[in-house]
Symmetry: D2
């Protein structure tokens, strides 16, 4: 477990500046104060697929959205499903209630049940009243299909991995690329996976995005508008499915559920500027939350106060959401290393030198 690359250049280090707003300190979702990310990478075996035995190229990426007891003091949240091919547990209640009250986890498609149960079990442990005098819970777990590289049928993610990812969650820089839930992901037919970025609006609000990118056709890939994919047709994987992209957006702007669902839409627009067309087989989902207000659980006082940003001042936050999401996808590809998975399937890293040449107009 764990995944340490030699540090590869991120977008801005390569001169790829998406949008006009500055990024936060770490250019990561963790720039929103209180947000923590933890990842567990499962990588073992090689050669021919023997379902149940490997090779294993998968993992878990967990987001703890705010400090304190989320169950007792929830966050306003919204979501947007651009295309619904996949499983996204917990969204029905998130959309109805307008709150997020659990951590959020990314994993592979066939492991959502296990990951959800692991989070349920952890929260049962923390809250002895859940499922007795208190309501039950529905954690948010989203997935992408890593079966091109991973023995997905083997369901190698276990509860211990989820606990480890949550335990490892920390503020600060986020490891990107072929790590955590991103270990087996393919992005525009290059290796991708986990990516993140952030923006700070002129009004001082921070918007951070974390993606698990597993979508896209090569010829459609655009990097900051440049038709990079069409110009790098080589290094193609042998097999390809439509894939998916799951997105979490965090902000400290004081937004409610309706506004956060709007923001989730704009994050997906940013994703699509990299070339996503929301293919039939893609599960393109964004969950967005705000850390600026906390929503009480079973409060005695029936009313409470919220501070809200006027919609008339929301456009910079919209713009920031799209820009951060666009960059997060690119960062996922820039960070990832070539991965050889089951049956020798190889998904190649986007070669930085080729990219630089294309962006410089020399290719």
């Amino acid at each position: 477990m764990g995944n340490k690359h030699d540090k590869k250049a991120r977008s801005r280090e390569l001169g790829i500046i998406i949008g006009r707003y500055p990024s936060g300190k770490h250019n990561a979702i963790t720039d929103v104060k209180g947000v923590k990310v933890g990842q567990v990478t499962l990588r073992s075996g090689s050669g021919r697929l023997r379902p149940g035995r490997g090779p294993v190229r998968t993992g878990v990426t967990a987001i703890i959205p705010a400090p304190g007891d989320l169950w007792k003091s929830k966050l306003p949240a919204g979501c947007f499903v651009l295309n619904g091919n996949g499983e996204a547990m917990g969204l029905m209640w998130l959309a109805e209630s307008g709150v997020l009250e659990t951590p959020v986890a990314f994993t592979n498609t066939l492991s959502v049940g296990v990951v959800q149960k692991a989070i349920v079990d952890l929260m049962l442990g923390q809250h002895p009243t859940i499922g007795i005098t208190d309501d039950t819970l529905t954690p948010v777990v989203m997935e992408c299909d890593d079966s091109t590289l991973n023995d997905i049928r083997g369901q190698h993610v276990k509860a211990a991995h989820v606990r480890a990812a949550l335990k490892a969650a920390s503020p600060g820089p986020v490891t990107e690329g072929d790590v955590g839930a991103g270990t087996g992901m393919t992005t525009y037919e290059f290796k991708g996976g986990i990516g993140t970025a952030s923006r700070v609006t002129p009004g001082g609000f921070t918007v951070g995005v974390l993606v698990n990118a597993n979508h896209g056709k090569r010829h459609l890939l655009r990097i900051n508008g440049a038709a990079v994919g069409a110009k790098i047709p080589e290094l193609m994987p042998k097999e390809r499915k439509d894939g998916s992209i799951t997105v979490v957006l965090a902000t400290d702007a004081p937004l409610d559920s309706r506004q956060l669902s709007r923001l989730a839409r704009r994050a997906m627009l940013g994703v699509c500027r990299t070339g996503a067309i929301a293919a039939n087989g893609s599960g393109d989902v964004c969950v967005a939350f705000s850390t600026a207000n906390r929503i009480p659980h079973y409060p005695k006082d029936p009313v409470f106060k919220m501070t809200l940003l006027s919609d008339f001042h929301i456009d910079p936050v919209f713009e920031a959401a799209g820009d951060a999401a666009e960059e997060a996808v690119i960062n996922s590809m820039l960070a990832a290393e070539t991965v050889v998975g089951r049956d020798g399937n190889t998904v190649y890293a986007l070669p930085h030198d080729r990219l630089k040449a294309v962006l410089a107009g020399k290719d």
Copy 2:
């Protein structure tokens, strides 16, 4: 496992005739040809709640929607979320794709992950290409919270129970009440759980509904319009949560996804005629499918033909859906026996004699 009552009278045997259309042969969802229902009831222990040890009052109810290979030959499907408190796995893709391609299962809230994994594993076994060359799958699993009676934290539902429920699935009469996923359910503060009913429209289409009813406040209960709940204030449980109701509707009317989502709405209207107000803490969800067309998987021929019912002829199907759903809720209560669960919590059966007296205007 298994649950055999002395046969108790169902709605029609008590003279409770909901709506103007006749029911099908079994007055059950299985009147739609090809639909099979299987249930496993978990009932053990008594006395004080010892989380993980019991008492156990829970189960699984599985619906196999049509014969043959659902994965290769899918069914048009739609859904409606009246209130989203709860987990309903598989709905995102069902809504996007307009198809149902797996069995549907009901269980308790904290067991959705396990039940989903069990169905995944079964389908992986049947389809060696899933998760390798083929896409992955997202089975439909819906839940209600049975924690008033059941050691829900103990998560006593295991994969073997899901397999047993699917194996037990059969056409013909459906056992109702405190059985399968309905074992621990509470309906209008009486014992309820699994209920079913069907209707045949003048056009010859059959509509069948199966509910797992775990919702409602006593004072709101209406049976065929009569304010029964207000007139039987006794036999109340000590504890009460908002609960939920999950609904599956089957029809042989040739409807597409859009129309089936409309039909799912009408089923929920029928449910609400029994007194449901879609309380904040309730997960009120309906999945509807049609057996009249099959949708091919990865077809070589890009186009296929469907036969569809014109919306201008759909009103009788709407009416049938509401009536069947309304009766299914009542049947769930009529069939259930009093259940004593964890901590001695007792949920009483609706007493038929009291009901008859109220309906006869003698109470």
Copy 3:
């Protein structure tokens, strides 16, 4: 213009007590402080339909949701479309923005454009900046089809009628039945139209509902649960279409857009307890607003405060919404007189004596 009946008994005066909460002073939407209703009734001509000349049986019902300048100081609002057969202007922006910033008007299907333009013109007059430096506006106008009685093709509603309805808007009792937009409406194949009711929750919140009821089949009509329609099969109109029902809900409970959309759903559930099945040809729409917070227009300060009711305390408001809506439908029928319209088409008043006999179990 104007419509004064001999006062007919309303639900409560006939002993029809829907639900357990008390009504407000006037048992009307105007019990929510600040809400005003104004109506203009157009009734002229008789005999054979001569499109463009009459007979005329139509009108306008206008709701002014709060005092002061709605454009500059908006109301949180939500909506729910149970079935979308019809036109409901202004809902797209209401749903996106979560606010109501104009009066709401009911009229007939072919007059929505004229009524909308009349409100636009009035607001342009009040706000010289709209459409120059300020955004344009999209008033909320909803319709039902009164063509069974009215020369709907003649489009007899003019801007002056809209202005008169708004000018006539007042607090206090609301005239019900065949008045305003309800003049030509048919409810469960009896004469109906405008109806209203209110409820006060134990927490002290008032919920008021105003309906324009033009929906329903006779055999489905239920009054407080009793199958009244099936027992009064006589007095049927010659012609019948599916119709529609448009609903406005007002409350002083401090709710936001998400919560108000939830409330709008519960109002429609109450409507459906009277026998509505949301028929294919029915436009069943509810707009809900709260007067407890005002939302600033183009505020200099980007943030503002809202006081909100916790969802954990919302169930009584849900229950009140359904009960008030259910009663409003019944009140619309109780108030209406028999109307003879175009081509001698006659829609009969629900006979109070027959109703009383049925409810007393004597019929």
Copy 4:
């Protein structure tokens, strides 16, 4: 009325090739067989705004989606609202019924009511049973706000203009830019308005898009990915609002309502690749229809057959939709001439020579 420019170069003539699929014969929505477009341009007066008198810079663009009687023989249709600031009449029923049964019209925000009434009146004339024995109708009318250039408060669009636009509707090339409803529109702070494009998929399906583009901030403008807007900061209008973009998509691919709503989403993704962020004040709406099946009105036979494209073969149609929409936005700007409107407000044409220099990397 009428708007003939010296022919300006369209995207492809400038070497701007969006996507990999060829365009149809006219690279216009009219490449979908049977689709006709008609426009009326209102352009009169100059100088200071005198509301009601001018200057007038507005119009109507009408799409007749298929030959024959749309009312009796409808088209499958879907829609997508990316952001709901604005009015889009007819969408509620289109979404519920899944059909389009009227022409579609674009106009300015304050003229939707008049335009809708004009179409209603025309259809009443063609169908003497509408509003008597037949249901009433809800035409599809969408708007953008042209108040920067136009005396929008003057509401200069009259029924005669709508009739003229429909009468002028023809197949073949479509005039683009500052014409019809696009006369007063602003696109990325350049002059834009009506634009169109089409694509033919490898499977032989044609997808055509028509936009009325009135959205976008200059710095966000991208043309085929190039950050053109940031590089041409000059020629800015004095005043600017968020604007909107309304989109109609036509295809001969055999798709149903669900699929067409999916397609409408992909069209909006293409729009957003030009730099749209769906700003708070923007009404971003797409209506999509298919000409491959006709849906019968009040059919005697309750069932009918449809031929449908499998979702597993839909990705090329998705890709085509996005590409055509992206190009349609650009075409709208390339075609438009500089327009001086009310109060001397000037919206400049995108200078082709500057654009060419930027695209060539010389700027």
